[in-house]
């Protein structure tokens, strides 16, 4: 699956939907480092407040 497709799915009905696609692509480019995922989830959580 292409990154673009995965980004689209990740933004669908999730907290990550509050983040710009660029931020999620950055996560995928970082090859899914767990710390990066946790950071992103924190960001998404904050963005949803």
């Amino acid at each position: 699956m292409k990154d673009e497709t995965l980004v689209k799915l990740l933004r669908k009905r999730t907290l990550l939907g509050a983040l710009p696609p660029k931020a999620i692509r950055a996560l995928l480019r970082a090859e899914g480092d767990p710390k990066e995922v946790a950071r992103l989830a924190d960001l998404a959580h904050l963005a949803s407040l």
Binding site: M1, L9, L10, R13, T14, L16, E31, A38, A41, H45
Partner: protein, 204 residues
């Protein structure tokens, strides 16, 4: 007059389309229903309806996985909505699950466009209908079983959840796994054997 959604479920050997007899019945009923409308009808009407229906279903045919597609009669402009009222349009959506065999769901409706004048998406409904029938659920079960054999840690992590969707695919990026549901959603990321919820606020 709008009659509401019509759902058909059809089965075929893995990777094949349903037989012409079953598809012919669907094509016939679609033609009967569409005959009542003059505008924004399904673009299946030109030529032989059975062949048009088969061409449409080719888009969701596969050897493994879930695919969905939609064909519709188109929408109207926002100006039209302002001057008149929401317009009616025909929508036919298909979802198919391919595991041990191929199961197809077709959802048809003559319905209103949304407030922007666009035809509504019915692919989600076709996907939902895959869950509401024991035979199609068997195929979803089979797909999920294959996924769990590939990623045993995912099955383990999902075990404590009382209610959860079907997971039918997953994408791995580095040490993170993104499991994908039958509704094409990614509600969790699996990180180091732990599920990180993405679909709602979490405590932490």
């Amino acid at each position: 007059m709008m009659e509401g959604v019509k759902i058909w479920r059809l089965f075929a050997p893995l990777g094949e389309l349903p037989d012409d007899g079953a598809l012919g019945e669907v094509a016939k009923e679609l033609r009967e229903r569409e005959r009542r409308y003059r505008v924004r009808t399904l673009p299946l009407g030109t030529g032989e309806p059975l062949e048009a229906l088969k061409r449409f279903l080719e888009g969701v045919r596969a050897e493994e996985g879930i695919l969905a597609s939609q064909v519709d009669g188109g929408g109207v402009t926002q100006r039209y909505i302002r001057l008149h009222r929401p317009a009616a349009t025909s929508v036919l959506a298909a979802a198919a699950v391919h595991a041990e065999r191929s199961a197809y769901v077709l959802a048809y409706n003559r319905t209103r466009t949304d407030r922007w004048g666009r035809p509504p998406r019915l692919t989600w409904l076709a996907r939902v209908a895959l869950h509401s029938n024991p035979e199609t659920r068997e195929e979803l079960d089979a797909l999920e079983g294959r996924l769990f054999r590939r990623y045993p840690a995912l099955e383990e992590a999902l075990r404590p959840l009382e209610k959860r969707p079907f997971f039918v695919d997953a994408e791995r990026r580095g040490q993170v796994l993104f499991p994908i549901t039958s509704m094409e959603e990614v509600p969790y990321a699996l990180v180091g054997g732990h599920l990180l919820p993405l679909g709602r606020a979490y405590e932490g």
